[in-house]
């Protein structure tokens, strides 16, 4: 495998070189997606199973579109319609999907570690599209591609040594974790800011060069990248924080954003709630990259589907291609 892994379960186990490779492989797909005709036959006859045990619109559509543009078919499992409601276990549901012989499974689940359980039982590759509060690897990859593109036309070596501020409920954010793992492989420095019960001390031991700063103004000083997390209003087992409290302490406003570097960029995994975690002017302003994130997400996912389905074979390949 040129990419060096069978399943993509998390960023934590990838090397910086593997990540650079994946980002580089996404570039041809960025170009492809700008063409008038966006349909390939590369994965014709292949099937991608989309097993979303947690509701999702954006990520599911992104993966579905990526598969379709490569010419693959999709099988769609959505939690609401699934037999999980009838008491079927996760493994049995996945085995049923597997019996229809897909070539790859994209999985999102509300339990951390669920894709690991599944990947251990299936021969086909598994992409983790988000597991509990653990990781969301394709999100971190598309964020990195966005950062790289924004910071330099030449698109090389622009991920090194960044100062990154992450704002919000970090304890429960898989997007934050994956970004921490990815950017730390490029020697980033992190400042974490959010309601204190959701930015606990143990986050500082996740990767090197992490500090916490309770006040957003201080946390933004000198930042190259600001990652704004969405706010889950109601969280199981947690008393909620009143929205006004959150806005007062942690909304990214234009004034606060000025504390960051003038060329700082703002990332948000979406969906945004304008007026909650992000001020409308910032959301729609020149520093915001949210739309590029979506476009890049499609390119990253196309690259992954291509590499993992086509490149997944490690057994005998023919000696030569026929030119």
């Amino acid at each position: 495998m040129s990419h060096g892994f069978h399943d993509l379960l998390g960023i934590e186990s990838l090397t910086a070189a593997q990540i650079e490779f994946l980002l580089d492989q996404s570039v041809p797909f960025q170009q492809f997606n700008a063409q008038p005709l966006k349909k390939l036959a590369t994965l014709r006859g292949k099937t991608v199973a989309l097993a979303f045990f947690e509701p999702s619109t954006r990520t599911r559509i992104s993966f579905g579109t990526a598969a379709a543009r490569l010419g693959a078919d999709t099988q769609n499992l959505q939690a609401e319609a699934s037999s999980l409601r009838k008491g079927e276990s996760l493994l049995d549901t996945v085995r049923t999907l597997d019996a229809m012989k897909p070539d790859l499974i994209v999985m999102r689940h509300s339990s951390s570690g669920a894709p690991h359980l599944v990947a251990g039982r299936l021969a086909i590759p598994v992409i983790n599209a988000g597991d509990g509060t653990h990781e969301h690897p394709t999100q971190a990859l598309l964020d990195a591609l966005t950062i790289r593109d924004r910071r330099g036309r030449d698109r090389k070596g622009r991920l090194d040594g960044l100062r990154v501020t992450i704002v919000g409920d970090i304890l429960h954010s898989r997007v934050a974790r994956s970004n921490l793992h990815l950017l730390s492989k490029f020697d980033a420095q992190f400042t974490l800011c959010g309601p204190p019960m959701w930015v606990p001390a143990q986050l500082e031991s996740l990767v090197p060069r992490v500090q916490r700063e309770p006040r957003l103004e201080r946390a933004l000083e000198g930042a190259d990248v600001v990652l704004v997390l969405r706010v889950q209003q109601e969280r199981l087992h947690e008393p909620p924080l009143p929205p006004d409290e959150y806005v007062l302490g942690y909304q990214l406003t234009p004034e606060r954003l000025r504390r960051a570097r003038p060329d700082a960029i703002v990332l948000h995994p979406g969906p945004m709630v304008r007026g909650m975690e992000i001020h409308p002017e910032v959301a729609d302003g020149p520093q915001s990259c949210v739309l590029e994130q979506v476009t890049n997400g499609l390119a990253v996912r196309m690259a992954l589907l291509f590499l993992m389905i086509v490149g997944g074979r490690t057994e005998e390949a023919a000696a030569t291609a026929s030119p």
């Binding site: 339990s111 570690g113 597991d131 974790r177």
Partner: protein, 427 residues
């Protein structure tokens, strides 16, 4: 008559560690000494083995009635005997809940039919384990329970705990509490710390346990009833128990083998690492081992919690808590505590024998003691001090295989178990 020769007799009650012979007659110990040659006695050659009083496990789950898919009284009692236990105390979270005397009698009947380790059941504190009304404790006492607990869950409120303890004091019953603050526990699946942050699993702080330990100690002070902390796992809890003992309160505690062996850093998405209380920090483990050594901890108890394979083969969040423990307890104690030089051998034997007997109090079948002396029950645990062996879950007598210790190498382990004068197990 059964004569046990050539063994190294370890009797904590008399502080004996010597090469002695033990003669059993019927279900009692007849004589202990040298050169005993009774005519017509069967001889058990214990060369190279230690001979200790019969081990007692204060805390286990036998799943019958109601959850026989994971274990039955018969398979559990046999697994216990293979682990060197001569008596085990199963908790009441069966189905139906063991909260009235009919269930007590049914359990004891099944145990008599099964053979293997003796079963000394623990009755529920509250009806249905619902934490509202008292269970039929006096009737269960008469039928044969040895202690009271709502384990699986904590006793729901301080008010109920006080009622239960007032009631049990008069009955000379120990109250065992699964110490846990429900609000801090809710939704958590492991110990809060760097590992839970890395795995993205919800973690609970040590105060989840110690807050409830503090509650129990204070209600103990209020009522004077014996209070026992089940599966103590945190330094903070241990310090509270130490202080309570210093004040002369009748507070005791037990520690499980997995808590003195593994820590939170060992947790992966493998559900064999999911138990309650969860694997704790390195510092907690240090404190527990010190407590095992210095007497703050009274007993090692397994909290043997079997679960059928398909129940554990799910996402970490959804898996039930618990691991099996009968057949690895002694081996872990010898390997991790005694051979590691942390706890002397005789003290380790205390933790399986006189300690548990003391916790149960003078009215239990053990009469508050465990000894190798004439007149004492013919319950003996014979074990090898340092035989090298590997535990394989597939060979276990339990119906379940949920253990993180599969394929683990040990120094020392059970060799033979004598219960009421009969050989119940032999390697």
């Amino acid at each position: 008559m059964l004569l046990i020769k050539n063994g190294r007799v370890l009797d904590p009650a008399s502080k004996t560690d010597a090469s002695l012979e033990v003669l059993l007659e019927g279900d009692r110990i007849a004589r202990v000494g040298q050169g005993l040659t009774p005519p017509g006695a069967e001889v058990l050659d214990a060369r190279g083995l230690c001979v200790a009083p019969g081990f007692i496990d204060l805390h286990c789950h036998l799943r019958e009635p109601g959850f026989e898919i994971s274990e039955t009284i018969e398979t559990g009692a046999r697994a216990a005997a293979r682990g060197g236990f001569t008596a085990v105390c199963p908790m009441a979270n069966t189905n139906p809940v063991h909260d009235h005397a009919t269930v007590t009698r049914a359990i004891l009947k099944r145990a008599r039919e099964a053979g293997g380790a003796q079963v000394w059941p623990i009755g529920a504190a509250s009806r249905g384990l619902k934490g509202e009304a008292l269970a039929e404790i006096a009737a269960m006492r008469e039928a044969g329970i040895v202690a009271v607990s709502d384990d699986g869950k904590p006793i729901a409120t301080a008010k109920l705990l006080r009622q239960v303890m007032d009631y049990c004091r008069a009955l000379d019953l120990t109250v065992m509490d699964h110490c846990e603050d429900a609000s801090l526990f809710a939704g958590c699946v492991m110990r809060e710390g760097p590992r839970s942050a890395q795995l993205g699993l919800r973690g609970m702080p040590p105060q989840t346990e110690s807050i409830a330990v503090a509650r129990g100690i204070q209600v103990c002070e209020l009522t004077g009833c014996r209070f026992h902390v089940a599966h103590l796992s945190a330094r903070a809890s241990l310090e509270l128990v130490r202080e309570a003992k210093r004040k002369g309160l009748p507070v005791t505690c037990e520690v499980t083998p997995h808590h003195f062996t593994l820590i939170d850093e060992d947790v992966t998405y493998d559900t064999h690492h999911k138990m309650n209380p969860p694997l704790a920090s390195r510092s907690d483990r240090e404190a527990l081992i010190e407590g095992l050594r210095d007497g703050t901890v009274d007993a090692i108890a397994t909290d043997h919690a079997p679960h059928a394979a398909h129940l554990k083969d799910v996402e970490f969040d959804c898996a039930p808590f618990g691991l099996t423990g009968f057949e690895t307890a002694l081996a872990l104690a010898l390997t991790e505590l005694v051979h590691a030089g942390r706890v002397p051998l005789l003290r380790a034997v205390e933790l399986f024998t006189t300690g548990p007997a003391h916790v149960l109090g003078p009215s239990s079948p053990a009469r508050g003691r465990r000894a190798i002396a004439p007149g004492e029950p013919a319950d003996l645990t014979l074990f090898s001090f340092d035989r090298a062996w590997t535990f394989r879950a597939a060979d276990s007598a339990s119906k379940s295989r949920n253990t993180p210790f599969d394929d683990r190498a040990f120094r020392g382990g059970p060799a033979a178990t004598v219960i009421a004068g009969r050989l119940a197990f032999e390697t």
